[in-house]
Amino acid sequence: MAEPGAAALTTADGMPLRAALARASRRARLRAALLVAPLLLFVLVSFVWPIGQMLLRSVNNVQFAANMPELTAWFAANPRGTPVDEAAFAALAADLRLAAASRTVGTVGTRINYELPGSRSLFTATGRAAGGLEPPYREALLALNPDWGREELWTVMRGASARYTANFYLAALDLRRDAGGGIVRVAPEQRVYVSLFLRTFALSAVITVVCLALGFPVAHLLATLPVRRANMLMILVLLPFWTSLLVRTSSWIVLLQGQGVVNNVLVALGIVDEGGRLSMMYNQTGTIVAMTHILLPFMILPLYSVMKTIPPAYARAARSLGATSWTTFRRIYLPLTVPGIGAGAMLVFILAVGYYITPALVGGASGQLISNQIAFHMQNTLNWSLAAALAALLLAAVLLLYWLYDRLVGIDNMKLG
């Protein structure tokens, strides 16, 4: 490398060596970047961008404002704390009439219903009668339904009139704003998401631990057997890995359902009687068993590749120094396998947290995970903003784990088969 002062060094064509080297390395960097660019661009456009765009829906809040222009204007003109006056009720009546005519009153009611359950019917019923409303509007609306006077309703409508909102994140955490705008927990019978997140993490943790318990001995066996026999057994690990997820899920349904193979064998052997067939499908048991089966190879493979590199001489040395086999395992072998345990456990946990297909097919009601709830809001309730907020929280958790994985294991060290 040229010293800063030594300007004398030049290339054959008279260029300073430093400049030539810098140009060469710039070219090399550019060439590498150009090779990666098409794919990076593709992934950014077809993957990162769509997800970002979807996540924006979690703060996007237009259903109310777009269809209730006058009331939105009243909220904008009068700060929080202004008493709800006749002008506000007049704006409300005008907007309801407009919304009923343009068939958007259901949309508006649905939006308010997200935060104040039971109020969609208030909007649709009032919308049908809105044509006959006469001033004074306050009395007219309260006469139709006294709920129009509820302070809480007006707080929710004010929140819904804003262009952007954080309320869907509150909803995703079982929180809401009370009449004064403070953050409180929702009614007990509506608290679902926090416990669902906890359930998702708890089930994923159980699956990870079971995978580790089942995978560790097998990985050890594979790593210590002679190559030829290990390769034979490795096929048994890799075949499930290569077999369709849906095939494996249907296998478990066939095995575990009430009239399935396992129950039939138990009944035939007299272990349980006809009425005592075990429920192992369409509940948490089904989800745990099927997901453990599906994710087990992701535990065995990283464990195996780490165990393969541990020289057997270490254990022999410990034994020759008088350690028992248990001590040897605990003090010598186990610490050496920690990188493999970390890699496998993190990968299994990350994949389990986002699982959708298997719980949807075998989970029944109690084996559902957060992904299933996101799909439910996407496809059934069409509360896309809440789906996006739940997705954002899940994504944040997964990306945090992914970052940890990269720090501890390194993406480069990910192995497939």
Binding site: F47, V218, L239, L246, H293
Partner: protein
Amino acid sequence: MAAIPSHASALERLWALTFRVICGLVLLFLIAPILVIIPLSFNAEPYFTFTERMLTLDPEGYSLRWYDNLLTFGMVAPDAPRDAGWWADAWNNATWVRAAKNSAIVGVFATVLATVLGTLAALGLARSEMPARKAVMAILVSPMIVPIIISATGVFFFYSNPGLPLPKLALDPPALRLDFDWKLAGTYLGIILAHTTLGIPFVIITVTATLTGFDRSLVRAAASLGAGPVRTFFRVQMPLILPGVISGALFAFVTSFDEVVMVLFIGAHDQQTIPRAMWNGIREQISPSILAVATVLVVVSVALLTAVELLRRRSERLRGMSPG
């Protein structure tokens, strides 16, 4: 624990035996569910359990009816004589045959795209000069890590391109919306692109793994002998990394071949793939036909696995990493 040493104590022998039994049970747990469906798919009865006649190996207890059903289900005239017209009917209309064609079309195109783009990128990523290497790698591998429901949801909105005609949604942040006058949802291209994205991490991981063992001096040697970069790539680098590329391609193919959530979200009815049809079958009426499809898919995965294993061994031999 290759063999139990002769000096082992009785307790150690017992433990070694127990250990092998445990391993055997775990391996059984892994493989049994896959094997159990194979005989059941030949069940003559519409049940999912072994009938008495099956257990006594009575040939009457077995039949190919569910495989036949794969061909006839969805046909216009399944009971017509099996001549050329019948086969044309099966080819064009049978639900599972159409699903297989769709899976093949989507799988092949997604694999080709993912493999070409992924291999190029892996070549760049393997160079030490690559700027922001770790960050780029993290982005490119992320489709494997991000929960599929999130990817599918994002792609669903992006490909349906909701916007202008609907006042409710037209107020989306306008700067963040790309407006095409055509949409990708409900098209083959849409599914192919979505599956390409999902297959890319596998190509990147396998090809970069092959490249870590690659000796760069070979490239420099070729260059010093006067070969251009393209010629060097095809004559020197490509033959050496080919096994990695092919197994990456197989991974990408199997990812697409097994993918159901993207198809659920963006596929129209005429883009039903095999997993999509299985999803319907499992959710609604799980008939033994599902087991027949499953058996066919197991045979396909055995073939793919064999191919990948052979490639892996060849690659290790080529790079001198294992005696083979």
